[in-house]
């Protein structure tokens, strides 16, 4: 972009004044496009996987023997779910119109939550909207209104997504507790641990890490206060959340991959492609 065509801007001192006439879109010599390529590609793969899984492979989400339920289909609230997997009841019919995925509730909440996440916003604005494609790299769009208008003004509902996701997380935690289930109900009261249990717990930790490190959570726990000294408990919480918050991007990616890994593992066990590695019972 040649930046000499500055429009008059009455509020600005000096009025319309040309910038240095430099035509190059960027003079950066490093591979500024690489991070966006990787993150955009990685996220695209995740969307593709979840899409295929939720629309076209609506089975193999539950392992009866060990009580493994994949996080993608939790809570399982359709009549298609095995009784043991639907602790919250079955209020959706077994067959839904093709355009509604079976885990509609889960998918809906996660979409709202992750798409309005401050980190993912940064990632997809850069990688998909090219706004900007990289730092100090010219943005191709002629007009820009940021998050001031419809639809992007709705990014401001992020905290509601967070509350909903916290609800989902409770359910995931319950699922993880139930995953301590052994095949033989007479041994140790039906207790058991397998590789699946560990994977489910690993995923749970990542999901908790992602949600607790959220910027909205940081704000709610203490960020909105003016006087920390008057709220020692909330201040303490805020300092902990702030520590995790610095790692929010890492949690965002780790939890994305851990969900896929957990889902693939449970699908494979459930479909009988592999057998769960049992540690106890």
């Amino acid at each position: 972009m040649t930046t000499t065509s500055a429009k008059p801007s009455p509020a600005m001192p000096g009025g319309p004044r040309p910038r240095a006439a430099i035509a190059a879109k960027t003079l950066r010599t490093d591979r500024w496009w690489l991070p966006s390529l990787l993150s955009g590609g990685g996220f695209g793969l995740f969307v593709l996987y979840t899409g295929i899984r939720c629309f076209f492979i609506q089975e193999s989400f539950w392992v009866e023997q060990y009580h493994y339920l994949t996080p993608v289909f939790s809570p399982c609230i359709s009549e298609k779910c095995p009784d043991n997997a639907s602790d919250l009841g079955q209020w959706l019919p077994a067959s839904l119109p093709f355009f509604i995925p079976l885990p509609i509730l889960t998918l809906g909440i996660l979409t709202v939550f992750r798409l309005t996440c401050y980190y993912y916003r940064k990632m997809y604005y850069r990688a998909y909207f090219m706004s900007p494609p990289g730092c100090a790299v010219n943005e191709p769009a002629k007009k820009y209104s940021g998050e001031t208008r419809f639809p992007l003004i709705f990014q401001n509902i992020h905290r509601y997504g967070w509350w909903l996701a916290c609800g989902l997380l409770m359910i995931n935690t319950w699922d993880a507790v139930r995953a301590f289930h052994g095949a033989d109900g007479d041994v140790a009261g039906g207790f058991g641990i397998g590789l699946g249990t560990l994977i489910i717990w690993g995923n749970l930790v990542m999901l908790w890490g992602y949600s607790v490190s959220c910027h909205a959570c940081r704000h709610i726990t203490g960020g909105r206060l003016k006087h920390f000294s008057r709220h020692p408990v909330r201040y303490w919480l805020w300092t902990k959340v702030s520590k995790l918050n610095a790692k929010h991007m890492e949690f965002a990616w780790a939890s994305l991959f851990s969900v896929i890994i957990t889902d693939v593992y449970i699908m494979s066990v459930s479909a009988g492609w592999i057998t769960d590695l049992r540690i106890f019972n």
Partner: protein, 258 residues
Amino acid sequence: MGTDRHFRVWRGNEAGGELKDYQVEVNEGEVALDVLHRIQATEEPDLAVRWNCKAGKCGSCSCEINGKPRLACMTRMSTFEETETVTVTPIRTFPIVRDLVTDVSFNYAKALAMPAFKPPGELAPGEYRMQQVDIERSQEFRKCIECFLCQTICHVIRDHEENKEAFSGPRLFIRAAELDMHPLDARSDREEFAQAAQGLGLCNITKCCTEVCPEHIKITDNAIIAMKERVVDERFDPLVRLGRKIFRRDRRQPASTK
């Protein structure tokens, strides 16, 4: 010990300009500003470049080196390959004066438009008492050296001159956050001001400002996102407003900490 390096420096003014080539000696331990000064001393006595402290503390020597906004005095020559061409241009977002010098008065105009600290009514000067935990967040933003690298890299105005009127930029967002988080500031309309007059909503939190800040201020995480969340409290979240009404509790307690 010196090596011979290839530099390209933008020379020109309002009427136009171009990148000019220089072969120049670089010695161990030197920074880009030293090399610009050598060009000035040996070849181009009229090369315009602003500098002051040579210690990364005055914020005068901001320019763009190989396309990245940086402080020339903090850019070590050892970070470039010996064979690498080093291109130095003025910061792009502001009107050019000459060569590497730009007119950054945009930033001062925006600072002037920002309501200053409002002293708490019930305290006389000299009676202010603050606790460290309460002032800590604001202190991070006081580290700013006003180099305006964050302002020049921000695509909102870098790529859209027309947004300059509505948008104050990251440097002023940290100022807004500093005052809004200040335990004794008596104003309660800073969110409204940030959103309506500073153009906080134009920022899409893509974090280039944070990446470029030489003081490593976490501009986006600690100021912009924090302010965005506060704006949500004020403007967009009906439940927060309801909650405040019902419990008669909000964070806007009187400023006094006596």
